[in-house]
Symmetry: C2
Subunit: 208 residues, 2 copies
DNA sequence: AAACAATCACCCTTATAGGGTGATAAATAA
DNA sequence: TTATTTATCACCCTATAAGGGTGATTGTTT
């Protein structure tokens, strides 16, 4: 006999909060054990709720959702955190994932999908809404119309790994001066004059 | 009146290939216009198929799937490429996404999900199987038990951006010598003695 | 024929990196 | 409460690396 999945909802908007609680509790096998309007409020008693999964909003009064993630992790190391928010900015998503969130869903996600995602997260995975997956995929795709040649891109990648010119020369079996020459051309094309700026510009334009 | 979604399947195993073709064609609105056993074979005539979506296997004889992606992109810039494979290695997935694949599904994906994913891709998105999403999420999550302090991590991140000591000092409003000192401690903790090695080790252990 | 790509060469100066050694105040942990 | 870690700064040193300038050669692609 399996125990119900214990869920806690942290979301400041009462309507949304109770809405989630209701629709999740309606599904068999899922139980919302508590709801909070902020992390600061939750922090006091959430350890007594023993949640398996925490639904967490990003836009919270006081401690925001991103800041809350590591602190929730510390309070409840075995709970999975599912971000449920309207924000879809690349930076926010990556911050949340890097901070330890197990998944990321947008608020327009249909109820059935949310319940399914909770199950997926609980089973050790990481669900992503289609919008988020889209964004993550896009973040991996390099710019196809790079001004840099293949070789230049390859060398810039090594520069971004912190390698010195001579290290790059050794690794590519070419002369030190050739590496220099490529880097000069890279600087020209990107209109920069330092490694840091080249890396920055290249990343902004997804050249590397 | 909408036109059927035109699909091409490139997959070397005949059983699997025809299996996909059959199950996709059975769905209304989806039409498999051609199938190929390899990219090299497909390259000759695929432009006459005018596919909207290409289902592409990674393990192909001759030109493999990863190599095929940029070449397919060149032949058919507007076609979406959906990787459908058994491989789940992080490197392979990221290579495929970086090369321009629009999505990544594993072969154990149920038929209905594949059809749904084709629709999602066609509508401009990027579906990911749960396994893949899981892996991508994991790849974003930093190691929680880093040997580095917060400040050290922050400085190492800037080193990885190609910044010089003095640039880092300026940006953090601390002395040049302090930056040096931190970097020395980072080297000690990571047992390295160069920027490149520190970056490499840190990335391998997801410290940055 | 012209443009681009990849290769190498030698001029130059300043900044940078990394090793060694040590100190101090504050925060955190044992 | 003591011990350890963290964050801060200082000065010794040398070899190397970075970046600017200028130019040349050999292919490849257009």
């Amino acid at each position: 006999m399996e125990r119900d999945i214990q869920i806690v909802v942290i979301e400041d908007d009462e309507i949304i909060r109770e809405g989630y609680a209701l629709l999740i509790s309606r599904t068999e096998g899922y139980q919302v054990v508590n709801t909070y309007a902020s992390f600061d409020e939750a922090a006091k008693t959430i350890t007594n709720d023993y949640p398996d999964v925490i639904l967490l909003d990003i836009e919270l009064p006081g401690t925001n959702g991103i800041q809350a993630i590591p602190r929730l992790k510390k309070l409840l190391p075995h709970a999975y955190i599912l971000i449920l928010t309207v924000y879809e900015s690349e930076k926010t998503i990556f911050e949340a994932l890097a901070s330890g969130a197990s998944g990321y869903l947008t608020k327009n996600t249909p109820a059935a999908k949310i319940v399914e995602s909770i199950r997926e997260v609980k089973d050790g995975g990481g669900p992503m809404s289609v919008n988020i997956a889209r964004m993550v995929i896009r973040s991996f795709q390099k710019n196809q119309e790079s001004p840099l040649s293949k070789r230049e891109t390859q060398i810039l990648e090594q520069v971004a790994e912190g390698k010195s010119r001579s290290q790059i020369a050794k690794d590519l079996f070419i002369d030190l001066e050739t590496v220099r020459s490529h880097i000069k051309n890279i600087y020209l094309k990107l209109d920069v004059n330092s490694r840091a700026d080249a890396i920055k510009t290249a990343k902004e334009n997804k050249l590397i």
